[in-house]
Amino acid sequence: MNTLFWLQTGACGGESLAILSADSPSLEQLLSTHDIELLWHPSLSHASMREHDAIFERIVSGNQTLDILCVEGSIVTAPRGTGLYDSYQGRARMDIARELAQHADVVVAMGTCAAFGGVHAATPNPSDCIGLQYNREQPGGLFPPEWRSRRGLPVINVSGCPAHPHAMTQTLAWLTTGLPLQLDGLNRPKAFFNTMVHQGCTRNEYHEYDIEEMAPGGPACLFFNLGCQGPMTQAVCNSDLWNGTSSKTRAGVPCFGCTSPAFPRDIDLFSTEKIGDIPLRLPLGVERARYMAYKNLAHHAAPARVKDKEMDS
């Protein structure tokens, strides 16, 4: 049996709700067939807070094994580093998170807030939010970069705003097997961050032929003008559809890069910064000159059905 404690810090509850949309496996299946015992979840646990306090005491006194600690929400450190803008029983949740993490076999940051600071850390960061082991793009958050949990792992960052339901349940299911979990350079489980949001986007034919959308509401590509971060963002949104149904870019909403440490960017989120006609930021790893040449050729090769935006996306 793997014990799991879910802690909410400065959060909107988005991960707690998103995880209810997972179905392969579902949260119910994690509990029934993946040997996870839910010690505590703030919105789902039936027991009283008195029981919550007792569980917490047993964990920190070493009388209760804690296999997996999930943290949802930014680590609020204001005012003046006390963390009291987010408190429980007068105690900073920042300190509660720190104490629980020291007793956990594995610590999982569920969502960009817990991983990197997230939307609450957006300028001017009114409540001085940070992530568990990152401060936006900077390594080191509540814990320094070299910190390791009892299993010898850094904080596992299942980023996203909210985190993808299956990135959450499949990471948890894998952790229960005890098999090694491959992480990327931002300590994210590689399996969920090794594809671009762009990959699998139904607007790809428009992107391929450089047919751009100037205003929202149309079927074409959102990358060139409307701020889409899909070609620079690693996430499974278009390969494992949300709610089994769709993705933001499929629905005509630009990808805002919510799995990235810099989310949300300070600049206008619905427009693309450009040099001349070409976006300032290009698809991951692409050379500007070659990209320009390729797009120029592609644009001229576009078939009329694409140029005239006759194709659904």
Binding site: L84, P126, C237, A251
Partner: protein, 509 residues
């Protein structure tokens, strides 16, 4: 982007809540709701491009992000005087309804009903039934709720790409049209949800259930097994046997913005809703038109820089001033309608809209904890009805536009507000744009109304009022408090502690 340095900023409590209670001989004599989290969303919005509100503000709340998105887009459309096509309003309504259905089922059967499985009740005649239906991760209705709500948010994903947290409503419309595939896929979801609701939750067809129009008729239904054995019937039997229909009225005044913009008649300067809104004056029993100018917020007991009396959101400010050891006790402000403490949510929504059954039950027994919860499940019927209507109209008008592009020159400086009925009640966004950037952004959430602290005159908020007089049998297992607080549909994380001879007890609904 250039930033301006302004001292207007704030945040609203959506997550953590504590309630401080004073008990005398086991009876609550005083209650204080304590918001324990400050995040600063409104401050984050200041200096940003106005449209960014559509990405930032839905993230205030994981369970009602669609409602925030809807409020934000209405506020922008008003500020820029943008027309919105009927199909866009239909799609917005459809998605808001799907989010509402998700909330109403989860709140009722994952958060409220499991309290009837408390060991305290193991000698109640209905205890075995309650366990079989509502026990977390085991009860039949509980598990079916997980499955049904997973399905219903697919409707939002069809138009917004995902639920939670998307940004598909933009000034001038929505990003995606309703084509044949999406209309039929959404209809399939609605059919499935409706069948479950009819068979498992109310034990009647939607038509028969909607036709039910009096308290006496409902009490008759409670005697017949078709309804009595259903999810809502069981919930009502449990709640009423515990006397929840006699408890926790809270403030008699109610506020609703009206539900769902009328696609054909809505405009930034013409607020026409499918279900009418209003202010129900609990003193006179009359329903008056809503005047958003009467909404104001006090900070006398909140951890914000003090100002005199109440201020309308456009004049409001939110400068944190954390004073834990004073008579100020919360991160929540105290919203008032004029000088009135109001409640909002499904009971207010349906009473003001004139639902005959809710009106009759309210007339018979007054406001109470059971009726608040009952109204939430009743609302589902109206949500299903209107969702279907939106789909039918979309099918008939499939080739009408879903988005009207607006020239950048229209993005002028100005003010706007957007009011919608979110799952928990009236939600408002107010913004002011100056030099093309957000100069002020203020959000008044439904939870802010409910979880309000005392105002400048010392008048307690709605939850605070609703708890006074409640008898608590066992402070270590304060299940009575759970029923009351959860009947208000608090946001996800809510912590209550009671002060009883210096001993503190906490629990989370």
């Amino acid at each position: 982007m250039a930033r301006i340095d302004v001292n207007i900023n704030l945040n609203r409590v959506e997550g953590d809540l504590e309630i401080g209670l004073t008990l005398e001989d086991g009876v609550v004599t005083e209650a204080r709701t304590i918001g324990t989290l400050y995040r600063g969303f409104e401050q984050i919005m200041v200096g940003r491009t106005p449209r960014d509100a559509l990405v930032i503000t839905p993230r205030v709340c994981g369970i009602c992000g669609t409602a925030h998105l809807y409020s934000a887009v209405l506020a922008l459309e008003q500020a820029w005087q943008v027309p919105v096509p009927a199909n866009a309003t239909r799609i917005r309504n459809l998605c808001l309804i799907a989010e509402g259905l998700q909330n109403d089922f989860r709140q009722t059967f994952l958060f409220f009903a499991p309290d009837f499985c408390n060991p305290r009740y193991n000698r109640q005649p209905w205890f075995t039934e309650a366990l079989a239906a509502f026990e977390p991760f085991r009860g039949a209705i509980y598990l079916e709720t997980l499955a049904t709500t997973r399905r219903v948010v697919e409707i939002v994903a069809h138009f917004g790409g995902q639920w939670p947290h998307s940004s598909y409503m933009l000034p001038g419309g929505v990003t995606l049209s309703a084509d044949m595939r999406r209309i039929l896929a959404c209809r399939a979801v609605l059919d499935e949800v409706q069948r479950w609701y009819e068979q498992r939750i109310v034990g009647a067809s939607l038509d028969d259930w909607l036709a039910l129009d009096s308290a006496d008729a409902y009490f008759g239904w409670l005697e017949a097994s078709a309804h009595a054995d259903s999810g809502l019937g069981l919930l009502s039997r449990c709640a009423r046997s515990l006397g929840l229909h006699r408890l926790a009225a809270g403030t008699p005044h109610m506020l609703s913005s009206g539900s769902w913009c009328d696609p054909e008649h809505w405009a930034f300067n013409a607020e026409v809703r499918l279900l009418p809104g209003g202010f129900y004056n609990g003193d006179t029993g009359q329903i008056e038109a809503v005047d958003q100018q009467l909404i104001n917020e006090h900070v006398r007991h909140s951890w914000f820089r003090p100002y005199q009396g109440g201020r309308h959101p456009w004049q409001g400010e939110t400068v944190p001033d954390f004073q834990p050891n004073s008579d100020r006790y919360t991160w929540a402000k105290a919203p008032r309608y004029g000088d009135k403490v109001v409640q909002t949510g499904p009971l207010a929504e349906l009473l003001i809209a004139g639902d005959a059954l809710i009106t009759s039950l309210h007339a018979a027994e007054g406001g109470n904890a059971w009726l608040r919860q009952f109204a939430r499940v009743r609302r589902v019927a109206l949500e299903l009805l209107h969702a279907r209507r939106m789909l039918d109209e979309l099918a008939l008008n499939m080739h009408e536009p879903h988005f009207l592009d607006m020239p950048k020159s229209r993005e002028l400086d100005g003010e706007g507000y957007g009011l919608v009925m979110a799952a928990r009640g009236i939600l408002g966004h107010w913004l002011r744009i100056k030099n093309g950037q957000v100069d002020k952004y203020q959000i008044v959430t439904p939870t802010a109304w409910s979880a309000s602290p005392r105002d400048s005159a010392g008048i307690p908020g709605h939850w605070e009022q609703s708890l006074v007089g409640l008898s608590v049998q066992d402070p270590d297992n304060p299940v009575e408090i759970g029923h009351i607080i959860r009947s208000h549909d608090p946001c996800l994380v809510c912590t209550v502690h009671m002060l009883d001879t210096g001993k503190r007890v906490r629990f989370a609904p």
